[in-house]
Symmetry: C2
Subunit: 307 residues, 2 copies
């Protein structure tokens, strides 16, 4: 994606992303908030319903109150500003919208003030040709991964949600800077395979699909949820959550990664082990493409505030 082209803070379009945030914001002080990174596909937000539900699951876990109407108005303004910006710049209405919600400003001290008002930020990064070309190549030719040394902490309070406490993923991703691979696999302190630094993981074994459970750590991705709840049913494939180890990973027939923005990446290599881009992975890729293209009931355009 390109640099941030649009910044909206608390319902106001900002001239630029700088000098727009209070240093007293608890998102900055403590990582006290949640975020979503969403694919904007020709003006429509893919899988909006799932993003919205995970956002509110996170807000409830953190006891942050956010009026749905306020969020809705911020999103309407964001989409209209993107349309205006794209029309005037000849730019794309395809890209990534990042939505950040924090507890708002606060005085010193961890205890949240009862009267604080949530901070709402949306950022838009248009899709570039480079991103599109790279991503198409990763989807069709697969990616190489490594094992991260960094291990995920066991922390049920934040498991599944996308909080602003993301240092485990920052530290894990830092390892990749010195390597020529596209992703890193993360295990928890118990040695269980959980996910990649920005993607969920699926294994195929004997035509069944497996993915790690995320009750003690990991991010519950919206593309993972789509695969679990919609795609596997449409193609009649059995899927289950399971404790997975490095050995299960080695022994798998096919392995792939999922992400709401970049889709499904087959894993073709990890250290001295390799996998084919298998038929089930390709079938799932195809089915996701079909589902998102033709009338997903989960997208922004199908969303109504009254529901």
């Amino acid at each position: 994606m390109a640099e941030t082209a649009l910044t909206i803070v608390n319902g106001e379009i900002q001239a630029n992303p700088f000098n727009t945030l209070s240093v007293l914001d608890r998102g900055f002080a403590y990582g006290d908030g949640v975020f979503e990174t969403m694919l904007l596909d020709q003006g429509d937000i893919a899988l909006w319903q799932y993003h919205l539900e995970r956002l509110y699951e996170g807000l409830e876990r953190l006891h942050i109150v956010l009026d749905k109407q306020r969020l809705y108005e911020q999103m309407v303004l964001t989409l209209s500003a993107i349309a205006t910006h794209s029309a005037s710049s000849g730019g794309s209405v395809t890209g990534v919208i990042k939505l950040i919600v924090t507890r708002g400003e606060g005085a010193r001290g961890y205890m949240p003030a009862s009267e604080s008002q949530a901070t709402l930020v949306t950022l838009f990064s248009p899709q570039t040709g480079n991103f599109r070309d790279d991503n198409t190549r990763y989807q069709t030719a697969g990616v190489r991964v490594h094992y991260c040394n960094e291990q995920l902490p066991l922390y049920p309070s934040l498991a599944g949600i996308k909080s602003l406490n993301q240092l485990p993923y920052v530290l894990a991703s830092h390892e990749r800077a010195a390597l020529d691979v596209e992703e890193g696999l993360l295990f928890n302190l118990s040695g269980h395979l959980i996910e990649a630094t920005a993607r969920n993981i699926f294994l195929v074994k004997d035509n069944q699909l497996y993915t790690p459970g995320l009750s003690v750590c990991g991010v519950s991705g919206v593309m993972r949820r789509l695969i679990l709840q919609v795609i596997t049913e449409r193609i009649s494939v059995k899927v289950s959550e399971k404790v997975l180890t490095r050995e299960d990973f080695y022994a798998a027939d096919e392995v792939f990664l999922s992400n709401s923005v970049s889709g499904v990446w087959p894993i073709v290599q990890c250290e001295d082990c390799s996998w084919p881009i298998g038929p089930l992975t390709q079938k799932i890729q195809h089915e996701i493409g079909q589902y998102l293209q033709y009338g997903s009931m989960l997208s922004w355009s199908a969303f109504s505030l009254d529901e």
Copy 2:
């Protein structure tokens, strides 16, 4: 402490704390940074040397580069601005300086850019009479605590340092909002007593001092370090790090909490259990007072950049 009276971002005094930070700052996006909360005592920063060392320990853990000269200039500017502000407002040169260092601005994605420049923020909150009176009362009459339901994650990568990933402490402190106690005790997922939400904990048993080790979770407080490395030696008391449980806590002769800003608070009650404000706790309080009052070699005024 009072509201924030002074805000300095990257070497520039800000008119107010609002609209001073980039929404692209990785401190905001991922909690990608560290902070220190320091006592400014009549213009001098108590225990500066320990704060500085913990700050750099945290920066190294996160692979964030911060030029010491840049930090030094920010601190000199901060102290001079506080002196000017206090002289003009008739305010206090006693209070709290909060120093935040983040990895700086970044594009989307967890992987740190190699060229990002750290963001430096200092905030000053003058001491109020209310804070001073409350704190004196807590030091002399003791405090009541409760057991937090929230458990600390086991995460060696962040253990000991003060990162901006502070949701465990936010969630734990949130529990206290509905209770009439001053602090909450935190255990880790293995059931070991670790600390309080913003303080370290010490137990006295048979005239010896014990405090939990902090290799898998917890914050290594600078007041804790002073007690471990300086105070106990001056009063010839044995001290050791030890795995501690709820039962050890119940069975202790004296228990107290330590913090660099609020000093030592004796614990007098937790649920149906109570403790006296014992002689060793009082001796330690007295010795810390003496040490900080008379020529601490750890304070800002004793600090030289050449060292």
